[in-house]
């Protein structure tokens, strides 16, 4: 701090705590102490308050205690002369500010004032549950800002946060110098895959207004989340930070210091204050500094360059007009670079030579029909992609060839057939890696702004927007992207990459046949690849940056719980980076083939979990189940009354027969803790023959989120047949018809579910 900042932050903190007290008093009078308070769809109550105080707030009546705590953290402003020290005091006031801010937002939820109404606004993607009218039909993404991020989104971003693809978040507060600058700042951050959380205003004008005016899509899909147009809503960024420690770090509510240090060490976030910094912004910034998040301002404010609470500088001033640069856009770019430098954010940017912005942040962008220039695949055309390896001398690195007509002659919003064929070569390349690399095409192409990619193999579907086409994006650029990304991301196994884009109908047909043969061959290879055919599994400690004691053991028949890494992926990853997060685990002697114990896996579990886990069973949920970080796709949980298990998808927000929603269950399943009867898994593990095979296998599934039944219908059908009970899926209850144990038991009886007659599960 400096005395200037301390004075303002402490003043701001005192004011906000008082405001919160008055609001709370009014709310208690008007609504009563038993009124429920909650942020939507989170198992972490009011997350910052939970993290910092350990109090699980569910009613208004619990909030006075929180504000009393906040008030005790307040201090008087430093004297003009002969001042006493103020750093610790200011940080405490910052914390008081955060407690007060979250209290205020909780009260606003009670009054229906959060998420903040914003007429005419449409969230780009998002779980509709953030809306107060979540359960109503209709488009609930309209007419309001995002409010707090829910657990579902936190977990689905989890894998990207933990594996470094998403290096951190920027809490942007205020209003940029111009709309143009606002867009540039956000684009620069998106390019680096940094989440942008937007809040605050300067004289009533918010960066949210600026971006909306410029037609920038805001929402989960674009990594740019509008919290609210006041500073108080910036609390959601710190709630998000708190929850990432609770979700992935195995920390509990009340472990305030640990949660803050976790963020300092592992979550690369910073505050970017645009425009005038007032008392409240200083106060909130002091709160953020507790998390180790530095503050960068684009105006003149006192700088605090010594380090310690944050890893690098605490407060940096980069007056926008003083930034070197030929124009405001270049200044904006430099500003973002400075932010990244100050936080020490690790950013890997592939230099992709395309005429549109490029980065993972654009992966979720949707190209609507109205904005579309052309599409490949979908209803009116066919599109496929195929990657294969070839001898080194048969591949010309960097060669991109378009065989057939270009897209220029296709009418607007028209379509054409296309095949993307990638030929790679490398000394370390193996045939098994072909599908691993091929699946990356989806992510790589999606990274271009204004280009949308869905599906894979011969059901790929690509759209190019008018905006991208106007900037000169054409077919050749697909090849440029793939060449650049494969070389950057997989350089260890890929030495040469050559891309051919086929649009000539005869050639498309010819290569589609070749590709399909390869797909079939790979399917068989994958089906043949069973746990007993290999002598090593792979560890996956990607999440250990977030969940320090969790370790996945990935086998051919059990993929990682995040769904993102199967055995082949791990093998490829090991080849790319032999000292990386995926290490081969020599199985050694088999101890128990049914439950899935090997000397090698047990030893590794002990080492990998730093002694937290002594043994791990590969095939049982009941005995030494595998632990989870927090980014699992599904939770499998024992329902003792039903002699079976339920499977809850993270996309399912409804109540389960266990009496808990996914979010609450996730608290039990995550954090690297071994809890018999509870397991976080990847959804494709459900269809594996080794799915809890020690406990009876898939027939134990008595309840399942309907979203899984729908999205995996075909795969599940095949499992039912494999299990010798073709109607099995229909016998499994789901959220549409069963939400309590009583209903579940009745359903199982009625549908004659096999679990009822199986041996007792424990």
């Amino acid at each position: 701090m400096s005395r200037y900042i301390a004075t303002r932050a402490i003043r701001g903190a005192n004011a906000l705590v008082t405001e919160a007290e008055l609001m709370l008093q009014k709310a208690l009078e008007e609504k009563g102490p038993d009124t429920k308070v909650a942020f939507p769809n989170t198992a972490y109550y009011l997350p910052l308050i939970l993290g910092m105080t350990g109090v699980e707030v569910t009613t208004l009546g619990q909030l006075p205690e929180i504000l009393q705590h906040a008030r005790r953290l307040l201090h008087p402003v430093p004297s003009k002369n002969n001042w006493t020290p103020y750093l610790g005091e200011t940080l405490d006031c910052g914390m008081a500010t955060l407690l007060a801010a979250e209290t205020i937002e909780a009260i606003r939820f009670v009054y229906g004032l959060q998420p903040e109404p914003y007429p005419g606004f449409h969230l780009a993607g998002g779980t509709s549950f953030t809306s107060p009218d979540a359960n109503k039909e209709g488009d609930s993404l309209d007419g309001h800002l995002n409010g707090p991020i829910d657990d579902i989104q936190l977990r689905s971003w989890g894998i990207q946060l933990v594996d470094g693809r998403m290096p951190g978040f920027a809490a942007i507060v205020g209003c940029a110098k111009s709309n143009e600058v606002a867009v540039k700042i956000v684009r620069e951050l998106q390019k680096r895959n940094i989440l942008c959380f937007l809040s605050g205003n300067v004289n009533g004008r918010s960066i949210i207004d600026q971006l909306v005016e410029e037609g920038v899509e805001l929402g989960y899909d674009t990594y740019t989340v509008p919290f609210g147009t006041d500073t108080i809503s910036a609390i959601y960024a710190l709630g998000f930070a708190t929850r990432s420690a609770l979700t992935f770090g195995g920390l509990k509510g009340g472990q305030a210091r640990e949660i803050l240090l976790y963020n300092k060490e592992r979550v690369f976030a910073f505050v970017l204050a645009l425009g005038e910094v007032d008392d409240l912004k200083y106060a909130a910034a002091a709160g953020a500094i507790n998390f180790g998040f530095p503050v960068i301002a684009d105006t003149v404010i006192p700088e605090i360059l010594p380090t310690g609470i944050t890893r690098y500088e605490h407060v940096v001033s980069m007056p926008f007009n003083e930034i070197e640069g030929k124009d405001d856009l270049e200044r904006a770019e430099r500003l973002v670079q400075k932010c990244i430098e100050v936080r020490g954010v690790k950013v890997k940017v592939a230099d992709v030579p395309v005429p549109v912005p490029y980065g993972s942040a654009f992966e979720g962008e949707v190209v609507r029909k109205a904005d579309m220039r052309i599409e490949f695949g979908g209803k009116h055309s066919r599109c496929f992609e195929y990657l294969y390896m070839a001898p080194l001398d048969e591949v010309v690195d960097g060669k991109v060839e378009v065989v057939g007509p270009g897209m220029e002659n296709v009418p607007p919003q028209g379509s054409m057939d296309m095949g993307i064929v990638v030929k790679v070569a490398g000394r370390q390349m193996q045939q098994d890696f072909e599908p691993v690399l091929e699946r990356q095409i989806h992510y790589f192409i999606n990274g271009a702004s204004g280009v949308q990619h869905i599906g894979q193999r011969d059901i790929a579907w690509i759209r190019i927007s008018n905006a991208a086409a106007d900037k000169g994006f054409n077919l050749e650029h697909f090849g440029k992207i793939l060449h650049a990304r494969f070389k950057t991301d997989f350089g260890a196994i890929v030495d040469k990459v050559q891309v051919t884009i086929f649009t000539d109908p005869a050639k498309v047909q010819e290569w589609l046949q070749i590709a399909r043969e390869a797909y079939d061959y790979r399917n068989k290879r994958l089906a043949d690849l069973t746990d007993d055919k290999v002598d090593e599994f792979y560890s996956c400690t990607l999440c250990q940056s977030f969940a320090p004691n969790h370790v996945c053991v990935v086998s051919p028949e059990r993929l990682g719980l995040c769904g993102a890494y199967n055995w082949l992926d791990c093998k490829a990853s090991y080849n790319i980076n032999p000292t990386g997060p995926n290490q081969p685990i020599k199985l050694g002697k088999i101890i128990d083939p049914v439950k899935g114990y090997w000397t090698g896996t047990n030893e590794y579990a002990k080492i990998g979990s730093h002694g937290q886990v002594q043994e791990v069973s590969m095939y049982s949920i009941m005995e030494n189940p595998m632990t989870a970080c927090g980014c699992f796709e599904c939770i499998v949980m024992l329902i003792p009354e039903a002699n079976g298990v339920m499977v809850v998808s993270r996309e399912d927000t409804s109540m389960t027969p266990a009496g808990m929603t996914f979010s609450t269950l996730a608290g039990i399943a995550g954090g690297g803790l071994q809890t018999p009867g509870v397991m976080g898994v990847g959804k494709f593990y459900l269809i594996s023959p080794k799915f809890i095979s020690a406990d009876g296998g898939f027939k134990r599934v008595v309840w399942m989120s309907s979203v899984l039944k729908e999205t995996m219908a075909e795969e599940l059908k095949a499992v039912a047949i494999r299990e010798g009970d073709p109607d099995l899926i229909e016998k499994i209850a789901d959220d549409r018809n069963v939400t309590t144990v009583e209903e579940l038991l009745a359903w199982l009886e009625e549908h004659n579910h096999p679990a009822l007659v199986m041996d007792p599960i424990f």
Binding site: P85, G88, P302, T307
Partner: protein, 671 residues
């Protein structure tokens, strides 16, 4: 021109003191300043070459090859003289600690009057060091166990005293390897006396091993326990506003000066002075109330905790009386000049001794007893108030300075991160980057043989310019306070650019007042926590830090210096060495002097040196700091790299007219 051999400006750097020395001359009374001139130090004793341990002597060894009657060589005699001083110093601190432990015991048993356990959090924290159960127990129960444990440390015969375990692990291992871990506090002091009796330990290095052990029984024993208990009973200090120098005495109030070292009495006098009964009593006597102030380390104890002003340091004790405005000077133990009584005879001032251990011929004795503490304190104050009517013309120099004391190691930890992020990380970072070049602890006494406060404040100010963060205790701290170095403002104006950034970031003065001389253990704790925080090595001897006692005079200073060396610190004493020898006249008469430096550095990584010239002290301090920085692989100190952050630019811009200011601060906002 002063009547003495030195001018007033040569006797003291403090203008208030200069005024009072002029007054002393006018009144024709002597002070320590003038007596120091009249009493040249014995050059043989001063060099440690005189042995008066037995009746065969005293033996003065002034020639090459000469030995004592018993055959004792110069180095043996010097080592014996040295360890006896260390033992006396350790005894003084530790006896203070023992009394604190008994007080804690009595408080826990509800046997005292006026005391309570004020800092339960610290009690619990200290208890946890020793695995004393705390959950579900009342403060009194915990305090009872802690008091028993601490009391037992004095009489313990074998094993290790318990506070040792609070040192860095590597340091403890070293002490065990060198077999210098104290077994019991009293045992080591007794053994020091035994070993130096005629015809005992006559290997100087072997004697000095025990000097280390005796000193450790002080620093990681008696003193540490004293500080712990003071904090538990009277509260752990935190910054507050105080004042220092004779100008704190008040014309219209009953001035009571507490002087000495222990907080038990002074705390109670503080409480009693605010008692309505006493205030009324004072008002009846025609005064506005009772104005309490302190001298020496008693001053530091109540300054650190209640902001009670300090009238001055050691050499101010006579000067305060010379104002004629002091109704009573209440003294307990240590550093109380016998001269006070005779001097007070020239005025109305009453010298009141209070400790059962200390009487001074001619002084009023009102014995203090914690069982009736408040009653005794009130009786003392009433005696002072009754004396108000006898005051003649007062002459109070209008010199005083504000200061912000109260930097306990607990508060330093807090101030660097607040309730949630408290740690030493920012301080370690500051040292590692080079904003703070290193840390110096400047402590110790006043000595009338040098210019009062000058060495302290000269060295302090020069080191501040070199970005050395300074912590102080004892009379040295009061010297800096009197010069305004203990204010946040000094952190902006009187320091190098990197240190300025740190002071401004945290809001601290560049010189941190950490307490009385018994509180030097707080510095040991800070050093330990810096080591534990990481980045500055794994033991205290690797930290870029130096201890200095530029104006030392007491045996306690030698004990402190020795336990700091044993803990790994480089300790520089100013003035003359008590074991200097006369190497130019008697060969090998500086063996011990050299051993305390080179020998101890080999064994403990710390060393003790005596350097009279302040510029040389500064040079050696910086050299040592830079050496330690280099050994840690830290960047070389470069003041040009730092100093960009802070409020200065902001405050400049704020002076602009509104529109210009807006433009300068925010550019053009919005669109």
């Amino acid at each position: 021109m002063a009547k003495g051999k030195r001018s007033y400006e040569e006797r003291t750097a403090d203008p208030a003191a200069q005024e009072m020395l002029i007054r002393a001359d006018e009144l024709g009374v002597s002070t320590a300043f003038s007596r120091a001139e009249d009493m040249p130090p014995c050059n043989i004793g001063g060099a440690g070459m005189c042995c008066k341990i037995c009746g065969m002597g005293p033996c003065r060894l002034t020639k090459d090859g000469q030995t004592g009657v018993c055959g004792a060589t110069i180095d043996t005699i010097q080592a014996r003289n040295f360890i006896r001083a260390v033992a006396a110093g350790a005894a003084a601190h530790s006896d203070h600690g023992r009394d604190m432990a008994f007080t804690l015991k009595a408080v826990a048993n509800g046997e005292t009057e006026g005391y309570m356990i004020r800092d339960v959090a610290k009690l619990r924290r200290v208890a946890q060091y020793y695995s004393i159960p705390i959950e579900g127990r009342s403060p009194n129960e915990i305090a009872n166990d802690l008091a028993d444990l601490y009391i037992s440390q004095y009489g313990q015969q074998t094993g290790e005293i318990v506070p040792i375990k609070r040192a860095p692990a590597k340091r403890q291992a070293l002490w065990r390897e060198k077999k210098v871990v104290p077994r019991g506090v009293d045992r080591e002091v007794v053994e020091a006396l035994h070993r130096t009796h005629i015809g005992d330990d006559q290997d100087p290095e072997h004697i000095l091993v025990h000097a280390i052990r005796t000193a450790l029984a002080d620093g990681w024993g008696g003193s540490m326990m004293a500080t712990d208990i003071s904090d538990i009973l009277f509260g752990t200090p935190a910054p507050l506003l105080g004042q220092a120098n004779l100008g704190v005495l008040k014309e219209d109030m009953v001035n009571v000066v507490v002087h000495g070292h222990e907080p038990t009495l002074s705390q109670m006098v503080v409480a009693a002075s605010q008692d309505p009964e006493i205030i009324e009593y004072a008002q009846k006597a025609g005064a506005k109330g009772v104005n309490l102030s302190g001298i020496c380390c008693t001053a530091n104890e109540i300054l650190m905790r209640q902001g009670i002003p300090a009238a001055g340091n050691f050499l101010h004790q006579e000067l305060a009386i010379l104002t004629g405005a002091v109704e009573a000077m209440v003294v307990d133990v240590q550093c109380i000049m016998q001269a006070l009584v005779e001097l007070a005879g020239n005025f109305h001032t009453k010298i009141i001794t209070t400790s059962p251990k200390v009487k001074i011929k001619g002084a009023v004795h009102i014995e203090f007893d914690e069982h009736h503490a408040l009653t005794v304190a009130k009786s003392i104050l009433k005696t002072a108030i009754d004396n108000y009517k006898n005051r003649g013309k007062a002459y109070i120099p209008q010199v005083r300075e504000d200061l912000i004391p109260g930097f306990s190691h607990e508060y330093i930890n807090y101030m660097l991160g607040g309730s949630y992020r408290a740690s030493f990380r920012p301080l370690n970072d500051a040292i590692m980057t080079g904003r703070v070049r290193g840390v110096a602890a400047i402590v110790g006494c006043n000595n009338p043989r040098s210019k009062q406060d000058y060495l302290h404040t000269y060295v302090t100010q020069e080191l501040l310019k070199q970005d050395v963060l300074i912590v102080e205790t004892g009379c040295g701290a009061i010297a800096s306070a009197k010069l305004g170095l203990m204010l946040g403002e000094a952190g902006l104006e009187k320091v190098g650019p990197g240190l300025r950034e740190i002071c401004e970031t945290v809001g601290i003065p560049p010189v941190l007042h950490m307490g009385s001389c018994v509180d030097n253990t707080r510095i040991l704790t800070v050093l330990t926590q810096m080591v534990e925080e990481g980045g500055l090595g794994d033991d205290i001897d690797q930290v870029p830090a130096v201890g200095l006692a530029p104006e030392w005079m007491s045996e306690k200073a030698l004990a402190i210096g020795t336990y700091c060396v044993a803990s790994g610190a480089y300790v520089i004493f100013g003035g003359s060495s008590p074991i200097s020898g006369m190497p130019d006249r008697v060969s090998d008469s500086d063996l011990v002097l050299r051993y305390l430096s080179e020998g101890w550095e080999r064994l403990y990584g710390g060393k003790m040196e005596f350097i009279a010239d302040p510029d040389e002290m500064i040079r050696k301090t910086l050299e040592h700091i830079d050496k330690k920085r280099a050994a840690l692989g830290l960047p070389a100190y470069d003041p040009m790299k730092f100093g960009r952050s802070g409020d200065a630019r902001m405050l400049e811009l704020e002076k602009l007219p509104a529109m210009e200011r807006r433009q300068a601060l925010y550019g053009v906002v919005g669109d």
